[in-house]
Amino acid sequence: MNLLEIHQDPAVYLVLAALLLAIGLFGFIRRNTLVGMLISGELIFGAAMLNLMAVNRFFVPDPTVGHVFILFVMGLSAAEVAIALSIVIAVYRNYRSIRTREIAEMQG
């Protein structure tokens, strides 16, 4: 494989998306504040978009469908961020903290 044409190779993008997914998942488990978990979730969203886009570029007869789908995903992710951050604000107002350990009242 020619190293200079590596950007034409779908495997690079798929591995990069998998790496991004793993990093996001690691952060999601590791973080103990709500905002930190939200940022990791955005990384996972990015991994999903990169994966979809790579498949759309190389293996799909009509690439337009993938573009529309990614736009849909981006809209969902923006909506998710808006809702999640308003919940963070509401939680902070009630608990004066957004650490996940301190808002585990319903843990039983």
Binding site: I6, L19, G36, R57, P63, H67
Partner: protein, 176 residues
């Protein structure tokens, strides 16, 4: 003969610059202690992702990625950080314990190994013929004809999420 002999090399270097920005930004976002730096890492990763989209033949999505992720998502998270002070005190036991981190690393490594192996060894079929080139013009036509319902649904989702966010954040607010 190419009129720009170094252009292939430049394309190669810029590709790895963007790939490095994606991975490096994501790692920085996950490993840094302060949440505001984590947001900066997310922004860097978004720039890298936009570059990846550019290399994947979709400059439109690259622009949208920068607009939405850096212009909207990161800024919104910064606002939430300013309002909610998510950082822990320096002397408090901030992150989870070491075994927890190692467990998270093992889970992430396993997921990475599985998904990457699927991506590399999978039997992907390249289509014989492409019916469109995925240009911005084709996307615009598709959004207003074939996929107009998706566009409307996204608009509705965004409207509802804005109203929901306002309702949730507004409740419980009272004058002391």
């Amino acid at each position: 003969m190419n009129a720009f002999p170094a252009s292939e090399f430049l394309i190669f270097v810029i590709f790895w610059l963007f790939a490095g920005a994606t991975v490096g930004g994501a790692l920085f976002a996950v490993f840094t202690k302060w949440i505001i730096r984590s947001v900066c890492g997310l922004a860097t990763a978004s720039v890298g992702l936009a570059g990846m989209f550019y290399y994947l033949n979709s400059p439109f999505l690259a622009m949208i990625q920068i607009l939405i992720y850096i212009g909207a998502v990161c800024i919104t998270i910064v606002f939430a950080i300013m309002l909610a002070e998510p950082d822990e005190p320096v002397d408090a036991p901030g992150m989870h314990s070491v075994p927890w981190n190692i467990g998270a690393g093992i889970v992430a490594a396993a997921i990475f190994w599985g998904v990457a192996r699927l991506g590399v060894t999978g039997d992907w079929q390249t289509p014989a013929v492409r019916v469109s080139d995925g240009s911005v013009e084709m996307i615009g036509v598709a959004l207003l004809t074939t996929h107009s319902l998706a566009l409307e649904v996204v608009a509705l989702i965004l409207l509802v999420s804005i109203l929901g966010a306002l309702a949730i954040a507004r409740k419980g607010r009272h004058i002391e």
